[in-house]
């Protein structure tokens, strides 16, 4: 082992390091090329098919991507809010016709946010019923919200503080609950807040419009507005029943049972009993049909 071998070793080491450097440079170049190619292909594949105003600008693309939960809820609740307008419009019309102050009608809409309960309530007030009777009727007609609220507790984070739950509880209506129940994951507080914003605004706005512009509508259209509420129910329950047969059967059973109980109760004259029977018939079918229809098929 002389100096010669040492020299040879250093030369080999240098050569190796040079080789590694060139290899690294080559790899870097190859990766860069691949990246650019991929970008170009992506641009060709996706961007080419988008209309002009949707084409992403390369810098801002990353900033626009994350959509907040609130905005997602807001967009989803938009159509409910619009759908509520004709219904609360009808409520405004009816309330003013029954002798309510327009602002009282708006106040009822804002504080109650319940279609059937509100209609029953103004009927009771107009009929001069005592407060306890009004409370009982409201309770019976709105008891489904108890079940919906209970169902929704299963879909929210168990650590959510109580004050947030109290805010969320205000927005439990048929349609909002239906959309929240269709969510695959847990319902977050901002999402639900967004979901209930548009319906509350739409419901109040519709009442304002109905109460103040009652005389501007042609009577023919006024008479037909009542069906809008039911059509919204249909639009909510029918599409999921296409893919899920159990939902379809439970809808059929529930409506058949309701129609049957309607026939039996038609002879009862007292409106109080009719209201109780009506709400009971709303309660009964779900208890009868849900366990039956959710039995697994084999």
């Amino acid at each position: 082992m002389g100096e010669r071998t040492k020299k040879i070793k250093t030369v080999i080491r240098r050569q190796n390091s040079r080789r590694k450097a060139t290899l690294r440079a080559l790899k870097w170049r190859r990766d860069k090329f691949n990246r650019r190619l991929r970008e170009q292909v992506n641009d060709l594949m996706i961007v080419r098919h988008l209309p002009k105003f949707l084409k992403p600008k390369k810098r801002s693309q990353t900033q626009e991507q994350p959509k907040s939960e609130y905005v997602r809820g807001l967009l989803l609740g938009k159509s409910i809010g619009l759908g509520y307008v004709p219904v609360s419009f009808t409520f405004g019309l009816v309330a003013v016709q029954m002798g309510f102050d327009p602002w009282v009608a708006v106040f009822i809409s804002l504080t109650n946010l319940a279609s059937a309960g509100q209609f029953a309530g103004i009927r009771m007030i107009a009929g001069g019923a005592p407060a306890i009777e009004l409370a009982m009727t409201t309770l019976v007609v709105n008891i489904r919200y108890f079940l919906m609220s209970l169902s929704l507790t299963q879909k929210i984070d168990s650590k959510l503080p109580t004050y947030k739950r109290c805010i969320m509880a205000f927005g439990v209506t048929d349609e909002i609950f239906a959309l929240a129940a269709m969510e695959k994951e847990d319902v977050s507080f901002p999402f639900f807040g967004g979901l209930m914003t548009c319906p509350i605004v739409g419901w109040t706005l519709g009442t304002v419009l109905g109460a103040f512009a009652a005389e501007l509508m042609p009577p023919l259209v006024q008479a037909c507005m009542g069906i809008a509420l039911y059509c919204m129910f249909i639009a909510i329950i029918v599409p999921p029943s296409r893919s899920n047969k159990k939902i379809f059967y439970s809808i059929v059973i529930a409506s058949a049972f309701r129609a049957y109980s309607n026939m039996c109760l038609a002879s009862i004259r007292y409106h109080k009993t009719a209201v109780v029977g009506h709400s009971l018939s709303q309660l009964l079918p779900q208890q009868l049909s849900a366990p039956h229809s959710s039995r697994p098929k084999r």
Binding site: S79, G83, P86, D101, W103, V104, I108, T111, G117, Q118, G121, I125, A126, A131, A135, T138, L139, Y145, L147, M148, S149, S151, T153, Q154, S158, T162, R165, C166, F170, V172, D174, F177, L220, V221, C224, I227, Y230, C231, M232, F233, A235, I236, I237, P239, P240, K246, I247, S250, I251, A254, S255, R258, A259, N262, Q286, S289, A290, P291, S293, S294
Partner: protein, 109 residues
Amino acid sequence: MSLFTFSTAGLMLAVMALTTYTIRVTPMAIFHRKLENRWFKDFMFYIPFCVLAAMTFPDVIYSTKSLTSGIVATVVALIMSWRKRDLLTVAIGAVAAAVLVEYLKIVMF
């Protein structure tokens, strides 16, 4: 002019609002834990469909001026919703159908 204002019906309005809110908030405030019963979960899944169906189906036919327009509008709504249209589209379509039927009845008879 109006019979019921804030001064005459204020108590009733408060009773109505409080009852409705209490119904909603009670389960939310009490049940913090998730229930793991499968039957219960199943039951909760089918509740909205059953309640909404029971509220809708006999009543929808009688909700317009006459039975004919009610049935026509219901059929229109069913077909439109089966084709997965938006809530508002279905509502407008059905109301339009009902108005059209009522109008035709006036024109023809």
